[in-house]
């Protein structure tokens, strides 16, 4: 039972590997775009500010000036969280798809979001309602425990955690945790109330403490993930061939999986379950650069924060002075874009 579609769908053509020069140029352009997006993320919103104010907020801070406080205390941490969480989600989505050879793999399928949600609801049930600042550790722990459980279940049997077994174990753990979470929130109104706000991923209201709490995990995860390209290329040839080429398949899998757990856990803890980017960006990167995972990872690293931050800015601008959570914007704008891509470009099978 293959988790991807059967041979009937394999008429899709594979994209060609592009020239190195073109790929480098593309990456530089994207990096430039990322800088521009970060700038807009700091300046745009209910209270527009100019570059001069940003400069002043950091060189000669005046706590009584509201616009400077907004920049220092809200927009900058928000942009930084978007930057790192975006990179983490894009990389972990890419690795998961390569690792499980399943084009639909995303952080949600590994039980990570369900684990974080269950931990938060559980903490409210046991300890009473708290502030989102304290959720971070619960969300992180929940995500970690869920991924360990997924890997443990998938490792049963002779072959260890094969792609299909990982996907099934992820779905199983998600099912279990979601049901338990539902059972709790249907009998505990304050848990329901917190969960429904957390469930929509958002970069708003995340300040520096949350950023500093999750940063170390994000940085370590991103560094390890960026070095995973060669190993993923090996796995893409199939386990046996990877073995024959001298790759230590089982070790590779465990390292990758831990990396994904750390990245997704930290990103989910920082901004709630942000769906969609982790699933879609790897496909976009693959369309741009072809099958070499070293390039796909590099592009995912830059492309995901661009998309996440644009969605966040759009949410601030569309319903100004209110805002739409970034998770909603991604779903409402990102989903049609993804559908168009699926319709008019061939998405390759992995």
């Amino acid at each position: 039972m293959s988790v991807t579609a059967g041979p009937r769908a394999s008429i899709e053509q594979r994209p060609q590997q592009r020239s190195r020069a073109a790929l480098v140029t593309g990456l530089v352009i994207l990096l430039g775009a990322l800088v521009v997006v970060c700038f807009f993320s700091i300046t745009m919103g209910a209270r527009g500010v100019g570059p001069g104010t940003i400069w002043k907020a950091f060189s000669d801070y005046d706590p009584s000036a509201a616009s400077e406080t907004v920049i220092r205390e809200m927009r900058v941490p928000r942009t930084l969280i978007g930057l790192f969480a975006g990179a983490a989600l894009g990389l972990s989505g890419t690795i998961l798809q390569g690792l499980t050879r399943n084009p639909l793999a995303d952080p949600g399928i590994m039980g990570i979001n369900a684990g974080a949600a269950a931990a938060i609801v559980f903490s409210i049930m046991v300890l009473g309602a708290q502030s989102p600042g304290t959720y971070v550790w619960f969300a992180f722990a929940g995500a970690g425990i869920a991924t360990v459980a997924v890997y443990g279940i998938a490792s049963f049997g002779r072959e260890g955690a094969t792609p299909v077994k990982l996907a099934l174990a992820g779905a199983a753990v998600t099912a279990m945790l979601t049901s338990v979470t539902n059972a709790i929130v249907l009998n505990n109104e304050s848990a329901l109330n917190e969960l429904r706000f957390w469930q929509v991923g958002s970069l708003a209201g995340r300040y520096f403490p949350v950023f500093w709490q999750t940063l170390p995990f994000l940085v370590i995860g991103i560094v390890v993930a960026l070095g995973a390209g060669r190993a993923l290329n090996g796995l893409a040839l199939g386990e046996d061939l990877a073995h024959a080429l001298g790759q230590r398949v089982r070790l590779t899998r465990i390292v990758m999986f831990v990396t994904v757990a750390v990245l997704c856990g930290a990103a989910t803890a920082a901004c709630g379950p942000v769906v969609f980017v982790g699933l879609v960006v790897p496909h976009m990167a693959r369309m741009i650069c072809g099958p070499d995972y070293r390039w796909i990872l590099a592009y995912a690293l830059v492309l995901t924060p661009i998309i996440l931050l644009i969605a966040d800015i759009a949410g601030r601008v569309i319903v100004s002075p209110g805002e739409l959570q970034v998770g909603v914007v991604l779903g409402v704008i990102g989903a049609p874009v993804f559908i168009l891509l699926v319709r008019y470009r061939s998405i390759t099978e992995l």
């Binding site: 039972m1 991807t4 059967g6 099912a175 929509v200 991604l330 699926v342």
Partner: protein, 345 residues
């Protein structure tokens, strides 16, 4: 037919497979009936199986028993039965048509449309239960139509249909999340309860509609079983065998979607029933597995889950919580039985 040209041992094997399939399907039907009667027996007031059957079939009149059985226990039991059959049938059609065991309607976004419409009816328009059920049905049908149109390019490939379904599902889910985060506290709880799904809340109207839909569609599905088998061989082979590929595919998707819509209208989106029923039925009946067996397995799952939710848990919970929990051991069982080769995913 060419069957007459087949060597005798092949014919014998075929007959054996067909016999096993018929036997297993009959056994499943008996189990469904037993669970159906059991559901109406247990509760705060015990009714004997004989009394239940007599009361349901109007063989005897006893006001107390009739009130408990016909008025209180028959509607949820009938809902569970019909929803189970509908979801099991629809799930297996989706999985076989799209060639993917994870392509059940709840994964491919049909249910998300039903949920969005129903939740909006509850939270935005403050609708009553009948209007919410109607919205769910309309939502499922519109969403399925949308996915079909978006996935259509000189025909439908399973892979594209699934990807687009997931995109549509994400779209719906994000709006659901937004609507929930903007709702009043009390109503948010009501909407969450709907999203989990339960067989205990359907009104007579929804229940009647669902039963009529099941009675009309299941015979249709049985007629479509043969063309479906041809489609599973691949489009070219099916065309060579004389099946009209696209019309058959459209008809099958259509009936599956109508079933999902009516089931969601009656009980909400019960997780995992559509995903589990088909593969379990196939494992039980052997390679000659039938759609009927999948429907019966679906009914067993929902009836069983409802019994557990009503009587075996510390708090009375909606049926959907239990079907969700059943999903976990099922997937782990699937893990344990994954073949060693050719399952690269």
């Amino acid at each position: 037919m060419a069957t007459t040209l087949a060597p005798p041992h092949v014919l014998a094997g075929r007959a054996r497979r067909r016999r096993r399939s018929v036997l297993v399907t009959s056994a499943l039907a008996v189990v469904v009936l037993c669970l159906f009667v059991l559901t109406m027996m247990v509760g705060s007031y015990y009714v004997s199986p004989v009394d239940v059957i007599a009361s349901v079939l109007h063989l005897r009149d006893d006001p107390t028993t009739d009130f408990i059985v016909r008025d209180l226990r028959l509607p949820p039991a009938a809902t569970a039965l019909a929803v189970g059959v509908a979801l099991g049938t629809a799930g297996t059609i989706f999985q076989r048509l799209l060639g993917n065991p994870l392509a059940s309607p709840d994964f491919v976004g049909v249910s998300s449309g039903a949920s969005l419409f129903a939740v909006s009816a509850i939270l935005v328009f403050h609708a009553g239960s009948a209007a919410v059920a109607g919205s769910a049905l309309v939502g499922a049908l519109l969403t399925a139509l949308l996915i079909y149109l978006l996935a259509w390019r000189d025909g439908i490939t399973g892979y594209r249909f699934i990807l687009i379904g997931i995109g549509v599902s994400q779209f719906m889910m994000s709006i659901i999340g937004y609507v929930l985060s903007r709702a009043q506290r009390y109503e948010a709880g009501e909407a969450m309860t709907w999203l989990v799904g339960s067989v205990g809340r359907s009104g007579t109207g929804e229940l009647r509609a669902l039963i009529v839909a099941v009675l009309v569609i299941v015979p249709l599905v049985i007629m479509l079983d043969r063309p479906l088998r041809m489609l599973e061989l691949g489009d070219d082979t099916a065309t060579a065998l004389g099946a009209r590929v696209e019309p058959v595919r459209l008809a099958l998707l259509g009936v599956a979607i109508v079933l999902v819509g009516f089931a969601a209208a009656a009980a909400g989106p019960l997780m995992f029933v559509a995903l589990i029923a088909g593969p379990v039925a196939l494992r039980l009946t052997g390679p000659a597995g039938s759609i009927v067996a999948s429907g019966l397995v679906g009914a067993i799952i929902v009836l069983g889950a409802d019994l557990v939710a009503q009587h075996l848990l510390p708090a009375v919970l909606p049926t959907g919580v239990v079907t969700g929990i059943i999903g976990a051991p099922y997937l782990i069982w699937l893990l344990a039985t994954v073949n060693r080769e050719g399952r690269g995913g």
